[in-house]
Amino acid sequence: MSDAISKTGRWIDLANPTRFLSFAGAVLPWLGGLTLLVLAVGFWMSINVPDDYQQGSTVQIMFIHVPFAWLSMMCYTIMSIAALGTLVWRHPLADVSAKAAAPIGAVFTALALITGSLWGKPMWGTWWVWDARLTSVFVLFLMYLGIIALTRAMDDPAKSAKTTSILTLVGFINIPIIKFSVDWWNTLHQPASVLRMGGSTLDPSYLRPLLVMAIGFTLLFFTLHMMAMRNEIWRRRVVAMRRVAARNAERGPAKQQEVR
């Protein structure tokens, strides 16, 4: 009886990634297509905005910089939720999700830093300043790299899942720091203008393309995340199957000996 229960328990665990794979297979083409469409529209909208009287054409950098910065934080938040999922509910997909998200988040954070740097040079006259916002985003980037290094350093996924989750959750304190750094400290970086109390300060002609781009890049993130998760599930299957292969090979010759 207990055997049957443990077996069904295992079946549910296995069914989840399997179900995820078929779900991803069905959804991914549509998601990818939608991403392309929204990004194309957003791109077309953002190159057709008038120049800002203060910032000139560099205002166009905003249309990619802000989504990247937003995604760098969203990705970390998703990873933190996944870390909770690993630690509290031990959901097998949570660890896969966190592990797949880390490199993507690192790339978006790097892009936020790069585009911000390219925006800062003409506006502030310098590529980089060590103010609260920029520094905290740089720290976020380092944390992404640290998490990637940690997941790669341990080859046993079950063990690395827990330690990585704890590290991820500890690092989450950085997210509110990034978000509110522009309000808490006096920084060069401009304060939030899109999401704030009392409505956006941004002119609608800039706000609309920005929102479309933000949606487009968010869709891109989910597409890539789903693809990376699928890869990770496959990778784990390959590992499991290889272990089975090693065991099977052992059984092979021994049986032949018995026959002889």
Binding site: D155, A245, A246, A249, E250, P253, A254, Q257
Partner: protein
């Protein structure tokens, strides 16, 4: 070709483990080094391999094939450790040692077939069981040509079937004019081998 030791003495950690050893192994012969734990079996093998200096006496290989200069160059050493990288596949590991140590009579695929690992050469070495790892390491002896085999507990971790397989490989090596020095406390299934018992009270 023969391996000659005269008045050989070996020490480990400043303590003389054995001394005054005289032995001679000719082509086609196997020498089994036996003795209790700590009697210096491994030390003797490492001295023959040139990894340790002998405390006294001489050791030489006479009439070795021209391709090999010196005892260390003519010897395969199979120690306690398998000298394989966990993350590389068995095939990659063997391929490295083959290109580093030179080609032998067998190709990698044939060697793996001979030790019964033909199916799993593509797997990372770390996935293998202890016995399989040992067999992969034995396959290394086949992929590069060396007339002298120095084997330290070669059958550790092997099951009966693999032991028989390995005995056949050793017989074949001896029949081709090779020589074997093996430290072991288990019978290796080699007919007509000499035995050298270490650990006689000094």
């Amino acid at each position: 070709m023969r391996l000659v030791a005269e008045k050989l003495g070996g020490e480990r950690g400043g303590e003389l483990l054995f001394h005054g050893l005289d032995f001679m192994v000719s082509a086609g012969e196997a020498l089994l080094v036996t003795g209790r734990n700590g009697s210096g079996k491994s030390t003797l093998l490492r001295i023959i391999a040139g990894l340790l200096a002998q405390a006294e006496g001489t050791l030489r290989l006479e009439g070795e094939p021209a391709a090999f200069e010196g005892l260390a160059a003519a010897a395969h050493y199979l120690g306690h450790l398998n000298a394989m990288k966990q993350v590389l596949s068995v095939h990659e590991n063997l391929h490295f040692w083959q290109s580093f140590n030179g080609r032998g009579k067998y190709s990698i695929a044939e060697a793996l077939e001979r030790v019964g690992l033909g199916e799993i050469g593509h797997l990372p070495f770390g996935y293998l069981s202890t016995g399989q790892k040992r067999r992969a390491s034995i396959a290394r002896l086949l992929t590069s040509e060396r007339p002298v085999w120095l084997l330290d507990e070669p059958t550790a971790g092997l099951d009966k079937a693999s032991e028989t397989q390995f005995a056949a490989l050793m017989q074949e090596h001896l029949a081709r004019g090779g020589l074997i020095v093996a430290a072991t406390h288990l019978p290796l299934g080699l007919a007509g081998s000499k035995e050298l018992a270490l650990g006689a009270p000094l």
